[in-house]
């Protein structure tokens, strides 16, 4: 675990960075950044979680990577290529899959149509990718003609993930994938994300359910007031009494409530 680390990010042991952020400053209103110099990296096949108190800028950070929020300074590199100045659709084409927190599926479209839109930029390989998506999430295959709004919360989240995976992104970003789900479903979502990362999908997620997320992650960053506060292996953060007192207890109460 590295204590307060706002300068250079230490590369984790021997990995190759898929996504790397350096001193990112971003926000909605010019001159009033919400993300105030955050740095992080995600390596190939790694599952990385960002936790932190409400208003720490976690979601904004994710939207900034996705091109939905103004970036004032800093760097975002995907496999060594800068994503700065690109529009959302270009960032997605470059290899970033994004599952936003709310409204992450098209409720009025069928499951099949949602996946087709997920693979919008694909050409001939669309059919094959659709089959792979259904093989990965059989529950979706059974309901492919149904409207997405008929799905349960957990199934929606599966659809959102399957949708974001359609293009085989270099990194899959999820904003609070456990929000609003029943406790059992939370476990299932975390476990399927963990499985995905073991299959080589690099994952970056933001979570309020810090404990559950850390249990399934490789590494984590704690963001406070838009800056890196702590980072390290998920295990060691979980075992750190100071972290538990400051960040895990509160998050847990929120989830239990």
């Amino acid at each position: 675990m590295n204590p307060v680390n706002t300068a250079a990010v230490q590369p984790s042991a021997g990995g190759t960075a898929v996504l790397q952020l350096q001193d990112l400053v971003a926000g909605y209103v010019p001159g009033m950044p919400i993300v105030q110099g955050a740095s992080l990296r995600v390596d190939v096949g790694e599952m990385v979680t960002i936790i932190g108190p409400n208003g720490a800028g976690k979601s904004t950070l994710m939207k900034a990577i996705a091109g939905l929020v103004r970036i004032e300074s800093g760097r975002i590199d995907l496999r060594g290529q800068s994503l700065l100045g690109r529009a959302s659709d270009q960032i997605m084409q470059a290899g970033v899959g994004f599952v936003p927190q709310t409204g992450n599926v098209f409720a009025t479209l069928s499951i099949h149509e949602n996946l087709r839109i997920g693979g919008y930029i694909l050409g001939a390989e669309l059919t094959q990718r659709l089959e792979q998506a259904y093989a990965m999430f059989p529950v979706l295959a059974d309901k492919r003609r149904q409207k997405a709004r008929t799905l349960s919360g957990g199934q929606r989240q599966m659809l959102a993930i399957a949708r974001a995976l359609m293009t085989n992104p270099s990194v899959l970003m999820l904003d609070e994938p456990s929000a609003g789900l029943a406790p059992m479903m939370v476990q299932e979502v975390f476990e399927s994300l963990h499985r995905l990362s073991r299959q080589g999908v690099s994952i970056l997620m933001v979570e309020q359910n810090a404990k559950g997320a850390l249990q399934h992650s490789d590494r984590a960053y704690i963001l406070v007031e838009g800056r890196n506060h702590l980072d390290g292996a998920a295990r060691s953060l979980l075992d750190d009494p100071a972290v538990a007192a400051a960040f895990l207890g509160a998050a847990r109460r929120r989830v239990d409530a």
Partner: protein, 299 residues
């Protein structure tokens, strides 16, 4: 009497439906009420008139008052009107969107654009009425008390065909699905890699095309004048809202109901009150079922 009013209502309704489809698409995807929409009906009608002036309306065939030339003119006019409706977006609406203008600003801009467009037409063609063809058509009695013109039947058939083609496009084509996705959530659509500009362009092209077709059909029964579109504006809005914004079958059913209601209304009221009918319908719908007949409740 009632049977004839119903029949006439269906024919008027078909034209209103075509107008309502385009309006409904732009209402949902562009997220503002495009009051310039009706002008593209007029533009389409006059563009077709320009073509007909050169190649003629054709020899009447199969009881119709025109030949294939008018169809060709309608097609050319509609494609051009579609392009013009996209150009209007590039010229007026897109710069406003980019500057973050509220949707009410876009509505006012559309009002202004409508006035400019209408007066450009008046500058070119003047206030006189025009006819595509001077052929006289006799109604054919198909049931006791129910007469139809062959032109009307043709218009209805072509409307049905256009609606089916558009429905298939929105259901199965990737751009059609992307349009529905954009209508629900522009942000999520962008995150999925959809190029917003290309969906917006397609939306304007289709909406202008449909409006122009409605305009030509309206000009056929029986004449063209600069207020052709603006006279239909309220009916078209009523139909789109009546059917449920964003629902293609809704716009069609809404159009038919508005057409029928207007014609039934004439049986009991002075024709001078006819323009009030869409207003009454609109009020009724907004009061009883604000999301429209087939509309989705907004989330």
């Amino acid at each position: 009497m009632i049977l004839q009013a119903l029949t006439d209502g269906v024919f008027t309704g078909a034209i209103v439906s075509l107008g309502a489809i385009g309006l409904s698409l732009t209402l949902q995807i562009m997220r503002f009420a495009n009051f310039a929409h009706a002008e593209f009906m007029t533009i389409g009608a006059y563009l077709a008139l320009a073509v007909v002036t050169f190649i003629g309306p054709g020899t009447p065939t199969m009881g119709l008052s025109f030949g294939w030339q008018l169809l060709l003119a309608a097609l050319l006019a509609s494609v051009l009107a579609g392009a013009m409706s996209w150009w209007l977006d590039l010229l007026v609406f897109r710069p406003l969107r980019r500057s973050g203008a509220a949707s009410l600003v876009l509505v006012f801009a559309a009002f202004g654009a409508a006035l400019v467009l209408r007066h450009i037409l008046v500058l070119i063609w003047g206030h006189d009425s025009y006819f595509y063809t001077r052929e006289l058509q006799l109604g054919v009695m198909i049931l006791p008390g129910m007469r139809v013109l062959p032109d009307q039947v043709f218009i209805l058939a072509l409307t049905v065909l256009l609606v089916i083609v558009l429905h298939l496009y929105l259901t199965f084509h990737r751009t059609g699905i992307a349009m529905r996705a954009m209508a629900e959530s522009p942000t999520l659509a962008q995150v999925c890699g959809i190029r917003v500009d290309s969906v917006v362009r397609t939306t304007w092209l289709i909406s202008g095309f449909m409006a122009a077709m409605a305009g030509v059909f309206s000009g056929l029964t029986p004449q063209l004048h600069p207020e052709l579109g603006s006279n239909l504006l309220l009916s078209v809005f009523a139909a789109a809202i009546f059917g449920g914004v964003g629902s293609l079958p809704g716009a069609v059913i809404g159009g038919l109901l508005v057409g029928i209601a207007e014609n039934l209304f004439l049986l009991v009221a002075n024709p001078g009150y006819k323009p009030a009918m869409p207003f009454l319908l609109l009020l009724g719908v907004l009061w009883l079922r604000p999301q429209g007949l087939l509309g989705e409740k907004s989330s």
